[in-house]
Symmetry: C2
Subunit: 319 residues, 2 copies
């Protein structure tokens, strides 16, 4: 298919949009309505050999997970997804069947999230990349900067499983006990319903800050610590217990410490919230404390042998 044929194919795949969509695919730009409150807007790109490898994930998975990665940012703001645009860069070697699988993965993720794909861009390149931009609505957008000493650290969703899946793929580990981790890496889910809960608690003044865990818990938590001027103290045991047997099994298979997997593995798209009350569907895995005199905002882990600061290692594209 040539470019125009592919656009027509994508338009058919992505459907006609939702109630907020006045103009969808096929014009210079999409037209949306109903943003009388705040518009929340994000963009995320996934690049072949950096975020995925087509040997490790089907094109369907690539479409699905790249959409979910972008949608997760809206969940972390407590925003309701409204619509998306998809910008694809595709080498000539990516054939029509692959484009079909990729766009089906995107469309399925868009349906799950409730944000139809209403436009986009298509370009040739030497490297496959999928860039997704989403808009959503929020009455009380939840930022990274509102965490207060005394808040609970609440976590919804697994941390460490997707990272363990990626490790297994990198090292060619084949073991049935790693299957949930491969699934976590290939088919993450943006936690939209938890984002709705977050918004409700933010509106009542309880949820003060939030972030989604894309680059690893410690690295992403350090963004909240810095933006809020606090220190985040995770409870090692609660954290490992929260993720549960899948994490322990993966750690065993990979010969890794489960706590390290939970602290440093990315791409699960869990939600971390600082709130002064518990929230349904979230586990308490730590507390927010004031920064010690003369110290900087940081992330700490409290375990049987004491409390130690942990460095915000995690995926850095240029580090």
């Amino acid at each position: 298919m040539n470019e125009l044929e592919r656009i027509a194919h994508l338009a058919a795949r992505f459907g006609v949009g939702g109630p907020a969509v006045r103009v969808g695919i096929g014009d210079d730009a999409a037209v949306l309505e109903g943003f009388a409150g705040s518009l929340v807007w994000t963009v995320d790109a996934q690049v072949d050999r950096i975020h995925f490898r087509v040997e490790w994930a089907s094109f369907y998975d690539v479409g699905f997970r790249s959409f979910m990665a972008a949608a997760s940012d809206l969940a972390a703001m407590g925003a309701e997804p409204v619509a998306a645009l998809s910008s694809l860069v595709l080498p000539l070697s990516v054939d029509d069947e692959a484009v079909g699988a990729l766009s089906t993965g995107q469309a399925d993720a868009a349906r799950d999230v409730g944000a139809p794909i209403v436009g986009g861009n298509l370009a040739r390149g030497t490297e496959t990349s999928v860039t997704t931009t989403l808009v959503g609505r929020a009455t009380h957008p939840v930022l990274r900067s509102g965490a207060r000493a005394g808040d609970l650290l609440l976590l919804a969703g697994d941390v460490g499983l997707a990272g363990a899946g990626l490790l297994a793929l990198l090292h060619g580990v084949q073991d049935a006990r790693i299957a949930p981790c491969l699934e976590a890496w290939r088919r993450p889910r943006a936690r939209i319903a938890d984002g709705r809960m977050l918004a409700a608690f933010a509106q009542k003044g309880h949820a003060h800050a939030a972030i989604d865990i894309s680059d690893g818990l410690v690295r992403d938590a350090s963004h909240i610590a810095r933006a809020s001027g606090v220190r985040l103290v995770f409870d090692a045991e609660k954290l490992v217990t929260h993720v549960g047997p899948k994490l322990l099994a993966a750690a065993d298979v990979l010969g890794r410490d489960p706590l390290s997997l939970a602290l440093y593995g990315g791409e699960d798209y869990a939600l971390l919230v600082a709130s002064d009350v518990p929230m349904d569907g979230f586990s308490c895995v730590g507390v927010v404390e004031p920064v010690s005199p003369g110290k900087k905002p940081c992330v700490m882990v409290r375990g049987p042998s004491g409390t130690r600061e942990v460095e915000p290692y995690g995926f850095d594209h240029f580090g």
Copy 2:
């Protein structure tokens, strides 16, 4: 600089945003306000060796032109740009100085257009690409589908110059008379003020359809023809006269027909409008006619030797 340092650098470069920006760079997503009417939304990607070559355009130019290409879509909808997100994929070989130049080009274009960059994404890849998504406001978004038989075809901005500039670069042509074409290719301008004029005429019911010329006049005009179910008939002489002496000089230098340059050269980001009255700043270069019985919507050129249909050749990423 590592990823976080680069983000901080970009945040400083892009500034603090405008009145519609509640949350800019540095959170999971940007938060905007004031979209009580229609939200107009576009995304555009520019890829190294497809849309530009770093040998031919400075990184500043790459940033500038990629932003303008995206902003042009809003102009073509009659929308007022509000804000932008920038998603960069950068090889490790693109050093901090290059990123600085690129982001300065983006920031300057954003200032020109009046749409601050309020967020984005940064990822490593093997191929440089710049993806820009913009939102704008419109009370009367102008689509491709409204052209009516009897409308005038109005053009604002040059067509063919940027394409001639690209040809000169491809063939290593060095001639002072080609300088305006190189400038057109390197530093296109989104026609935001003309877009405002378009919106005013749309509101009064006069401007019926519009598109920006990114892939060549005939190819982009064919989108209006098809979407509106009409044929667009360009006047060869008026078209060449509209662009003027720069086009004639470039045609002479390159040994090409000026009309062909005007019909098939892309990336000038001129605006083509179908309107039932003339508009300030636009030249009349043709008319909209009904489709002949048994024929399909098409694009035609009327010249001294008669009227002929022209094929919508133009840049196709996968054609």
